[in-house]
Each structure stands twice: as C-alpha cells, then as structure tokens.
Amino acid sequence: METGINHFIFISAVFLGIGLYILLTAKEAVRVLIGLSILFSSSILNISAFSGFWNFNAEGQITIFLITAICLLNISAGIILFIKHYKVYKTNQFDEVSRVE
C-alpha cells in the first residue's frame, strides 16, 4: 500500500493522543518532560509531512524551526523548575509532595 499524507496524519494523531495521556497521567518530572516533547514532535511530524508532500515549501521548514525553538524553551524552563522542585522537596515524584506538606 502506497503511503500518502493520510498515513502521516494518522500516525501523528495517535502520537498526539498518547503524548497527551503521558502528560496528564505523569507522576515523575522526567515523564512530564517526555510527554511535552512528544506533543511537540507530533506537530513537527505533521508539518514536515505537509511541507514535504506539497512540492517542498520552505515556509513549512521555517515553521518547524520556530516550533523547535519554542519546544527547546519550554523544555529548558521545565528542567529549571524541576531542579528547583528537587532541591526543595528532595523528590522527583509529584504525589509525594502533598504527603510532605
């Protein structure tokens, strides 16, 4: 079966759904960051598929550049917050914080 744009859309939709599940149900800091990066990479995959299939337009590539920059900023902010969290509560699990307090 020849692959088309629909296959890429299907994969990125499934990818987005499971990324959301990981982000919403995460208890560890590491898993939150992984879920966030999965969400961003699903959008990158979708945009790159559209950009590649429509005669390779450069605007799509620039959009991917910008999304990558936003993703990097989010992840670095998350790392800073989680380092602070670890230094204060001495744990990387969120459900243990309520027990400490």
Partner: protein, 160 residues
Amino acid sequence: MHDILFYIFAAVILLSVMRIAFISNVKSSLKSFAYLLSGIFGLLIITNSQLFSLLICLLLLMIFFTAFLLKNKINEYLIIDTGATLKTNIFPALVISLLTAILASLFGNTRWQMINIDYSLNSFTMIFTKYLPFILAISLLFSVMIPVLFRIVRLSGVKS
C-alpha cells in the same frame, strides 16, 4: 522502498510511545524515548526534511553522551520503585482515545491533494534562496539562546 521504511519507522514510534505510556520504570521510559527519537529521525528523512533529521540525530548523540557521563548523578536522581504496579487511568485514556479517533478519522479521511515528494529539492537547497535572511536570523537567535539557557540552568543549580 519508502513505503516499507515508513511502516518500519511508524512501528518503532508507536511501540516506543506505548512503552513510555504503560511502563512504570522511568529508566526504561528514557531508553524508549531514545528509540522514539530515532523513529522520528527516520520519518523526517522520508518527508524530505533532512536538516531537521540531522538536528534530531545530534540531539540523540547529545542525550546518549550526557547519560553516559552523568550516569551516577542520574542514578541518584531517578528514584526507581521496582515494586510499582501499573495503574491505568481509565477516564483520561477514554477521553484522549476519543479525541485521537476524531482527529485521525477527520483528517485521515480527507481527500488531500496528492503530490509525490520531489527529492531533488530538500532542506539543504533551501539555504541559498530568498529565505536566507530568515535562516540567518533564526540561526543567530539559536546561537544566542542556547548558551543563555545553559547559563540559566547552571545558575539556577548553584544559587540555592
């Protein structure tokens, strides 16, 4: 050839994402995340975005080297509960699977205009076009942003 590669990389991505979602061990989640990045690397090559696949390849190498160099620190940070049992969160799983089904069925069944990928044009030929000023501006932004981020992360670690 590209079709077979697409199915292989899609299988790698889906398996590793399922592994991240449904395995409680954080270390194996991180390993699966590396496999996931390699799957995305492959799919980006298929969709003719070689420049970004190269970036992801560099990111993968960076993650592996950091994990190797900071092995002891990571072991200290990751609290591994070996007796943890899997807790399925049924409500979020139901809502999200509904959302995914709607997204996949709506956009996956749309009759998109089908144009075959032209492999003579790619990310590298994009560099010397009218978009050169944008690319220069973005690369300058990246070159400033990344050292500043490293600096901020280091300072936030030292202060408290």
